[in-house]
Symmetry: C2
Subunit: 223 residues, 2 copies
DNA sequence: TCAAAAGTGTTCCACTTACACCCATGT
DNA sequence: ACATGGGTGTAAGTGGAACACTTTTGA
């Protein structure tokens, strides 16, 4: 288990750490996975999950591994974010933290159950006290997430295969932090060529059933 | 002199290397600075200048230092690009290469004069045989440069303080690799709020003198 | 007076935004 | 029948793209 090496660069350890900012959307809220440090420095504070790069492991592979260790999920949106060298003031001799960000469906996640280095979800608007300078990383991650949403299919990673337009809109509203117009949203999405209409509908209450859509591709699309 | 550690990750060296893709525009051509390797591996091939991160040096500082070592210039557009872990197949145990890209005015540059590890400018459309997988880095750098040009003042770094609209357009055309419409270009630039009109004009030949403009800010602007 | 680059407006189209009502269903 | 969320169209504004002629200067 390598979550103990969470965040930043370990004292005396390897010079390259990989951090993964893991986002999800639950109850209309954008949340991020953090891990509570159980050892100095910054003991008790919360940090972005991460660990050292293993010999001969690529950065992408390390990020995939880290994400799987923390959440059990694979094949989701995962992209490199930025590389920081000055997050951990206490690390001797510097080193670099290569950060990634990922989007996962809340209902697919199995968080590790441990009392030390315990993981937890936090609304990005109500963060706990963070270790190192992780708020800087989260700020960058959030900005990138918003801009990725605008021109990629990133949201596929937050929805089931088939979904109603209103579910998709809810994801967008949660991430962008504002309400969107239903008609304009639908028009824009359908024009984007990211979605495909299906013949399925979902009956979810005392109202008209919603037509279901799926993403044309459920893999990251480069622009 | 640390140019000898050019490109990739040195065998047995530190785990973090910093590479700087240095672009300039000369004679209507986008060119990139490369260094010819004078030792294995890939001896004789050309590589992006770079070197190891010094202890306690930030990544940004290392990039600034590298750029100054190779060109003598400072205070230009310089931005982190991407971090690669799989450029140098021959490096043992992996490691990471944090890449940056910079834009410099050709007439401000003083290249190091050495016969080994000699630097040279190459048109991006006529690259020599590259060491490691540097073509991947250049491809990413070029794409980022194009997109940065669209919504930032990055071009300030390629022009003198005062310049004619046609000079600016020439820079854009060289980087984008296509002709632009004069009227649309001018309108878009003036609407962007990146430029300021000056009262100066330049007489440069048997034709009407051009009004000169300057950038509102000559520092990188975040969006 | 000629050659050369500077400078200038309008039309069309595509896309974004704002905005309000009817539809299908379950209880 | 009513409450609930699903689904639809139009008009105004904005920004990009296409397109050609006049102006100022030096030689």
């Amino acid at each position: 288990m390598s979550a103990e090496t969470s965040a930043g660069v370990d004292n005396g350890g390897p010079a390259v750490a990989v951090l993964v900012v893991i986002f999800t959307v639950v109850e209309g809220e954008l949340r991020v996975l953090l891990i509570q440090r159980s050892a100095p420095p910054d003991e008790g504070n919360w940090a972005i999950p991460g660990g050292a790069l293993i010999a001969d492991e690529s950065l992408d592979a390390a990020a995939v591994r880290k994400l799987a260790e923390e959440t059990g999920v694979r094949d989701v949106f995962l992209e490199q974010l930025y590389t920081f060298s000055d997050l951990d003031d206490s690390a001797p001799g510097g080193g670099a933290a290569v950060t990634y960000f990922a989007l996962v469906r809340n209902d697919g996640v199995r968080l590790a159950e441990r009392s030390a280095w315990a993981p937890g979800w936090f609304a990005v608007n109500a963060l706990p006290v963070l270790a190192f300078h992780n708020e800087r990383v989260l700020e960058v991650a959030r900005a990138r997430l918003v801009s990725k949403l605008e021109y990629t299919n990133a949201a596929y990673s937050l929805l089931p295969d088939f979904f109603a337009m209103s579910q998709l809109q809810g994801i967008y509203e949660s991430i962008l932090g504002r309400k969107l117009d239903k008609r304009n949203f639908r028009r824009r999405m359908l024009a984007s060529d990211l979605l495909r209409e299906t013949q399925q509908t979902a009956k979810t209450g005392p109202h008209r059933p919603a037509r279901l859509y799926r993403f044309a591709r459920r893999t990251p699309v480069e622009f």
